[in-house]
């Protein structure tokens, strides 16, 4: 009844920049997290080489992440205030400090180099994991969006970081490590499960259920099922396990696209529900 009352009109105030930031952040985190993890199992040499392509990759995407974050602010010139006028309960602030720390470590590693499995690689691994996961708690603080309230979100983001990280590494350092392919496959499988759980698990609240319905209805359905799940996950898994060199690269691309699509849908959908 627009003529007779005015409702708030600002749905989607977090748009592609935010989903983009989740994506670049996943890569940034994954690109270090993967080698850091592998350094616990594999022999040092190949992991060492993996770090060599992983660290710059992580740095680049972390920078991109920062750019997107600032660009999304309506008062970008004030972005430093997040660090300098902090309100500690906010995961935006905590996240900002985590990212900064992670960035510092990457910078250090890039200039002075580091030893796989050593103190810094473990610390870096932890920071990378935190960088990937903290958004889970940030979105959790967004009480207005029930879909984001699920406790699984941090885990899910971590998993997405593994996918994105391994996929990205597969692309720029394909022949370094056999395990990379398996890691990607496992991560993808896990991610697929998590997505299915998110979409079809019984949801805590009506609003969450509606957002969920939104994601699996209309146009979005195709993006989610065909785009993200079918191609981005299952096809990617098949290709990465069966295929060789170029096929794997394709699989990696699919995986990345799959993650991107899902993250965008997941950020967008709940904002479309009218709350008043």
């Amino acid at each position: 009844m627009r003529t007779y009352d005015i409702a708030q009109r600002h749905a989607g105030s977090w748009g592609w920049k935010v989903s983009g930031y989740l994506f670049t952040k996943s890569i940034a985190a994954g690109a270090f997290l993967i080698p850091a993890l592998l350094s616990l199992f594999d022999e040092a040499a190949p992991v060492e080489r993996l770090f060599r392509s992983g660290v710059p990759l992580a740095l680049a995407f972390l920078a991109l992440t920062g750019v997107l974050l600032v660009a999304d602010l309506k008062r970008p010139e004030r972005f430093l205030w997040v660090l300098l006028r902090p309100q500690w309960k906010s995961w935006l602030v905590r996240g900002a400090y985590i990212i900064t720390a992670y960035g510092a470590l990457l910078g250090g590693w890039f200039t002075f180099g580091g030893t796989p499995g050593g103190f810094f690689s473990t610390l870096g691994g932890i920071l990378a994991a935190a960088t990937a996961a903290y958004s889970g708690w940030l979105f959790g603080q967004a009480k207005g969006r029930d879909l984001w309230q699920s406790p699984l979100v941090p885990v899910h983001l971590l998993c997405q970081a593994l996918v994105a990280g391994s996929a990205a590494l597969l692309l720029c350092a394909p022949f370094e490590l056999a395990d990379l392919a398996n890691v990607l496959a496992v991560a993808l499988a896990l991610d697929a499960l998590l997505i299915l759980a998110e979409m079809h698990g019984r949801h805590a609240s009506e609003a969450a259920a509606r957002a969920q319905k939104l994601m699996i209805s209309g146009q979005r359905r195709w993006w989610l099922y065909c785009g993200s799940l079918a191609i981005g996950h299952f096809l990617a898994i098949v290709l990465v396990l069966t295929g060789e060199g170029p096929t794997r690269a394709v699989a990696a691309c699919f995986a990345l696209i799959g993650v991107l699509i899902y993250e965008h849908l997941w950020v967008d959908a709940p904002q479309r529900l009218p709350l008043a």
Binding site: R9, W81, A142, K143, E206, L273
Partner: protein, 271 residues
């Protein structure tokens, strides 16, 4: 006498009195010089039921000044803050425009000011309160449907109402502990979906003269009604989790609902 205890401000919106006139909206915009498109408070009309058992509900929506405010928690620069007197205020001078608060507020009470690129919302007219005056919307309201005051002062009209009347808050299941309570908040009007039979109402127009019913099954009509119900549900609370009764359950308000014996219980006695 000046009181030493800092007050604990809240709102009651008394839907037995509200006539949906929008004066609060206009007074608010005038007081704050807000641009077109920004409404710190707005009045929602929702028609419920089917003719002639139909009514129109007016919902005056605005910031609830939550005792446990997620917007404050998520705000990275403390641009939003809960004042000692319970008002959730904001300082555009600190806002970086990250829009996190707009995601955090379960009531869609925050908007972004296109001029300043900073968030804005009802701040209980803190600048008036600080000189001892009622908010603009309260002063203008023709029917005194908006009641402000100190929830902790048992003598205040708001506390007395809280003690004597049935109130409800929006989406208590969110645990935000809103301090805006509604009397007859979600008016229990007939929430029936339209009959799909296509038989017109016995008193209706389709059988005006020849007395024979007309019309085809009304699918559109049914959808429309369903949509309205949804809107209500999201705005008011999640029946799947917090059942109807629970609407009164917000703790922030429960505190003030010890039955008082010194008060006449006749509805409207406070007037």
């Amino acid at each position: 006498m000046t009181r030493h205890r800092t007050p604990n401000y809240g709102f009651i919106i008394d839907n037995r009195r509200c006539i949906g006139c929008h004066a609060c909206t206009v007074a608010c915009k005038t007081e704050h010089g807000d641009p077109i498109g920004i409404n710190k408070t707005w009045v929602q009309y929702i028609e419920k039921g089917t003719w002639p058992e139909v009514t129109r509900a007016f919902h005056v929506m605005r910031c609830n000044h939550c005792a446990n405010a997620p917007c404050v928690e998520i705000c990275p620069t403390a641009s939003l803050e809960t004042r000692a007197d319970g008002i959730v205020d904001f300082d555009p001078g600190r806002c970086i425009g990250c829009k996190a608060c707009m995601q955090a507020c379960p009531y869609d009470a925050i908007t972004l000011n296109p001029d300043s690129g900073t968030a804005t919302k009802c701040n209980y007219c803190a600048h008036r309160v600080d000189v001892g005056r009622e908010p603009a919307c309260v002063v203008v309201c023709p029917t005194e449907a908006i009641i402000t005051g100190d929830l902790d002062d048992p003598q205040s009209r708001i506390a007395r109402l809280m003690a004597t009347e049935q109130t409800m808050v929006r989406r208590p299941e969110k645990g935000t502990e809103p301090k805006l309570a509604y009397i007859e908040g979600h008016r229990d009007a007939p929430r029936t979906a339209r009959r799909a039979t296509g038989r017109a109402h016995p008193l209706g127009g389709t059988n005006d003269r020849r007395g024979r019913p007309g019309g085809r099954p009304r699918r559109r009509a049914r959808l429309r009604e369903a949509r309205r119900l949804g809107r209500g549900a999201l705005a008011w609370g999640d029946e799947r989790r917090a059942g109807r009764r629970q609407w009164r359950g917000a703790r922030a308000l429960e505190r003030h609902r010890q039955p008082r014996t010194d008060l006449p219980l006749r509805p409207g006695a406070h007037l």
